[in-house]
Amino acid sequence: MSGSTELKFVRSQFSDALPPPMRISGILHWARENLFSSVFNTILTLLILYGLFQIIPGMIDRLIIDAVWTANSSKDCNPEVLGKTVGVCWGFVNAHWGYFIFGQYPQPLRWRPELFFALEAVGLVWLLAPSIPRKDWAMIYFFIIFPVVGFILLHGSPALGLPIVQTHFWGGFLVSIVIGTVGIVISVPVGILLALGRRSRMPVARTASVVIIEFIRGVPLITVLFMANVMFPLFVPEGWRPDPLLRVLVGVALFFSAYMAETVRGGLQAIPRGQYEAAQALGLSYWQMMVKIILPQALKIVIPGIVNNFIGLLKDTTLVAIVNIFDFLKVIEAALNNPVWRLSQMPFAGYLFAAIVYFILCYGMARYSMSVEKRLAIDHRH
């Protein structure tokens, strides 16, 4: 080949593409890259390893080896009674399992909430698993059929031979899931409508959306719950007393609709004007443009924000306890206050169980949203 110092050069042959040079790989390479890449990193790695070494054996002892798995009262977990070290009293959770999941829901009727959970699981898997077809039916099932059937199952219907179970018997994980599901099912469509309204050119729609969003965002959820529970009955006619759980559901749904609206608005603003113009130039109507062109792109952008809202919603369901609804955390507390189970170590078991359950739900949602983002990124690279 001719040297680059010469002024004249004509390539006689294009070079072939070659595979990249062999990379150093394997565990040793990974460790060197990630753990021992510099003196400072090496020191950090060693310090952390030392710390983990100090903590983990003790944790395993408390959580598993010394733990008590079955118990009938606090005596079975009391180190003074047993005369040995006692770890976490999982027996407490074990003994209250039904109560934690269903609250005061009557024992013989618990097949109904169980079926409710199963129906919800079917809907979620159908809706969320990419490999299962007919997402349009899945939407109809989850957003229309399941809420109706679910309500009839839980609340009952004498016409169908299902005795009525008043909502103050509902409790535990069941009530948390009901509030979370209703919040999600309502806040997504309402939030989208509010976001579109806020960006609308029609003054009435815009002003109404702004007022609703800003008013609801301007007050804490606790205030909304108090309003729903205490103030609301004062404004409605005597004798018309909406169910306490229903009031709370409306409050939570409205509250998160406002947040959802702002999240969706962020996505709408990220869509270039050219997308609107191309849709308009083709003669699409406003709703066709929104449903087919703008929203699919805008919602894709804000998936992390929407899932963030879902996670916040699920955790904030614990706040309903202050208006006397026995959600998952509240039933655990109630069980802890039972004198039969009173023991200084007991709260650790109860709260750890609550933490694990909430973590699994929230982390599950976060992981799912990551996988969705990855899939959509492959689907249409810009």
Binding site: A278, L284, K292, Q297, H380
Partner: protein, 259 residues
Amino acid sequence: MAAEASLNLKPAKLTHENAIEIKGMNKWFGAFHVLRDIDLTIKRGERVVVCGPSGSGKSTLIRCINRLEEHQKGSIIVDGTELTADVKKIDEIRRDVGMVFQHFNLFPHLTILENLTLAPIWVKKLPKKEAEDIAMHYLRRVKIPEQAQKFPGQLSGGQQQRVAIARSLCMSPKIMLFDEPTSALDPEMVKEVLDTMVSLAEDGMTMICVTHEMGFARQVANRVIFMDLGQIVEANVPDEFFKNPQHERTKLFLSQILH
């Protein structure tokens, strides 16, 4: 092809002699007077090239024709229908007027085929199968049928612009507007897009093109319009326009872009 013979691909006919009639049209962006006293009549089958310096209002002018921009004074009549705030009439006109944008504006979340069939299915209510047959016909016409299942982001700029042209054609428009269709393209891809436009012109499509491709103007235009400061400065047949520009501003502009 047998399948194609059954398709209704006859170009829609303009019913009026004057495809577009613009009279005394004015437009402001806030306080900025962007279009001033525009009078322009475009006949059926005519091919007009609009040129001028940036900011002269040429893009705004053609965007007024399908109401992507609203004019404040004067009138615009498209094939006998006057553009007013009446949404029904706007939709009617948009169905008949195709538009190709500088930045293609394909829908990135849809495949090429879906980009082409969306409006025929939802606006013209065609059955999906028929819309797809029409789409494939126009994809063959712009010479990229093999890209039908890809997403816009996987195509080159020139291919995307040809898809954008095909997308408009799927609505069988009576008039086509081109807003600097080659300005965002790499030099090697300009020709493939211009070739598509030339073949469209040869079929007798009524076209208005905002472009700086003077070779294209010479080859296909019936008339070249030069705009500056929101006004039409000069209009003439291409030969005369390039050989013998009258206005000083036109001469200056041509001396800048023709080397």
